[in-house]
């Protein structure tokens, strides 16, 4: 069954969607959308470094995404505004990544595979990486769920309950770096944030609790992944962007439905 490239693509998309949706809820609740972007853009620099050093792509993207997150945290503690820090770092990392790739000897690289994903070329090995990364993200979130929620509601309430909100932030950062490393093959660095945020936003109108929102988001994300893949197959469109389009259509539908049903 895994010999079929469409089946592998569907499994890859599902793995990403199931991990990205609950993580995306936290990204939305904590207003970290731009942070997700910065981490994802940095991944291109990670791709360049991996190719230059002959490391696995996952290791490079994960490493650079983590360094990026640490840099953001340090610079924003020094008193620069968060948007400014992220704006500077996200685009710098992307630009340096795009430039660095051209220095890699001997590789005439099709960068669009990393910018927009190449889900139809997913191998069995890629699948193993995607599903273990996704499982790690889900495990991290499940383990820290209550503490993460408390710190998201209010860092001061977390402190008063004996929870260090900075630690929860670091755990979320780690989960985000993992998700980016996993997603780069599926939807690419430029559309990672979309798979994080759009299912979460689409789930919001019908969610009454944080858990329900994460669950609905995971379902909608899976639907978007499969629907996008089907669209890509039928209309012969690029798979990664098609998945994001499917997610966007779902967002529009749930938002309108909510309006209509009051």
């Amino acid at each position: 069954m895994l010999d079929d490239f469409l089946v592998r693509a569907a499994l890859a998309g599902l793995g990403l969607a199931l991990a990205a949706a609950p993580l995306g809820c936290f990204v939305a609740w904590r207003r970290m959308a731009y942070f997700g972007d910065a981490t994802a853009h940095a991944a291109i620099l990670g791709v360049a470094l991996s190719l230059a050093l002959s490391l696995p792509i996952v290791a490079g993207t994960l490493g650079v995404a983590l360094i990026m997150a640490l840099l953001v945290a340090t610079l924003s503690e020094r008193g620069l505004g968060m948007d400014t820090v992220l704006g500077v770092l996200a685009h710098s990392a992307l630009a340096f990544g795009l430039v660095a790739v051209t220095f890699v000897p001997g590789v005439r690289l099709d960068l669009s595979a990393y910018l927009f994903g190449d889900i139809l070329a997913v191998t069995r090995g890629d699948l193993a990486v995607i599903w273990s990364g996704a499982a790690a993200v889900i495990a991290l979130l499940a383990w820290r769920w209550q503490a993460l929620l408390t710190a998201t509601v209010s860092p001061d309430l977390a402190w008063a309950s004996g929870i260090d909100p900075r630690r929860e932030q670091r755990i979320l950062t780690l989960a985000l770096a993992l998700a980016v490393a996993v997603a780069i093959k599926v939807v690419g660095a430029l559309l990672v944030s979309a798979m994080l945020l759009i299912p979460a936003a689409a789930a919001r109108p019908f969610a009454r609790s944080p858990e329900a929102m994460a669950g609905i988001a995971a379902g909608l994300g899976a639907l978007a992944a499969l629907g996008g893949l089907w669209g890509a197959y039928v209309f012969d469109t690029p798979a990664g962007p098609s998945m994001v389009c499917a997610a966007a259509i779902l967002f529009a539908v749930t938002t309108v439905l909510r309006r209509l049903t009051g």
Partner: protein, 255 residues
């Protein structure tokens, strides 16, 4: 045995030293009201006591295993986070539903369980926060301007509730108030803060006199009292507030 003891506390926020050499301690069952003008460091002191801010100098000693209940002024919760009152009460520790309902009832918010947190009024929010604080069976309850936005009868009712909770749980209470002169009458001690502790003492219970009834309104059932500031020192110009002008009307006459 004090619950929490801060000595020589210095705290800086964004390069500005908000607290300079503050000593503060609270004993079990004690009710302390902290008053002071805006920017005097009242909330900063509270946030330092719960561990959210690190002092640049000085030390804080807590009774080991101290159970804290903290009621912040407000929460900046993103509207994309769906959270009912009942769900909120289960953070971070999961609490059985009947315990949560009992805490809501104790805080006078029994009807609010299924309401979203984002749709609460100021007074409702305070009661929900109080219910959450009660769930920890606190030994020390810290409240940051809990009566902000309440009128005088509302404040009086809230103070009576706090007094009732203190009697019921035997917990100590630290309350911050922006009101310089009218404080909760059950306060054992009032601390006037302005970067440092300016003065402290007992509030004056004056509920009987007609002139104070005019000041407090009727129907407060003796929940409010006056605090007479007794500063033994004079600030120089850099201090930014005028202690003489901050005297209670009665104290000014008496002086």
């Amino acid at each position: 045995m004090t619950l929490i003891e801060a000595t020589g506390l210095h705290v800086s926020l964004g390069g500005h030293e908000v607290l300079q050499g503050v000593d503060f301690a609270i004993a079990p069952g004690e009710i302390v009201t902290i008053v002071g003008p805006n920017g005097s460091g009242k909330s900063t002191l509270l946030r330092t006591l719960i561990g959210a801010l690190k002092p640049s100098a000085g030390r804080i000693r807590r009774k080991p295993g101290l159970r804290l209940g903290y009621v912040p002024q407000k929460l900046l919760m993103d509207p994309t986070l769906p959270m009912t009152v009942m769900r909120f009460l289960s953070l971070p520790r999961r609490v059985p539903a009947e315990e949560r309902r009992a805490a809501l009832a104790e805080a006078g918010a029994e009807a609010l369980g299924e309401r979203p947190m984002s749709g609460l009024s100021g007074g409702q929010f305070q009661r929900v926060m109080l219910a959450r604080a009660l769930l920890t069976r606190p030994e020390l309850l810290l409240l940051d301007e809990p009566t902000q936005g309440l009128d005088q009868p509302g404040s009086a009712a809230f103070y009576q509730q706090i007094e009732h909770i203190r009697e019921h749980l035997g917990c100590a209470v630290v309350m911050v108030s922006h009101e310089l002169h009218v404080v909760m009458s059950a306060s054992d001690r009032v601390v006037c803060l302005n970067g440092h502790v300016c003065c402290q003492g007992h509030p004056e219970i004056v509920a009987q006199a007609a002139e104070y009834r005019a000041l407090f309104g009727t129907g407060t059932h003796g929940a409010l009292a006056l605090y007479r500031h007794e500063h033994s020192h004079v600030h120089d110009e850099t201090c930014g507030h005028d202690h003489a002008a901050a005297q209670a009307p009665k104290a000014a006459e008496a002086g």
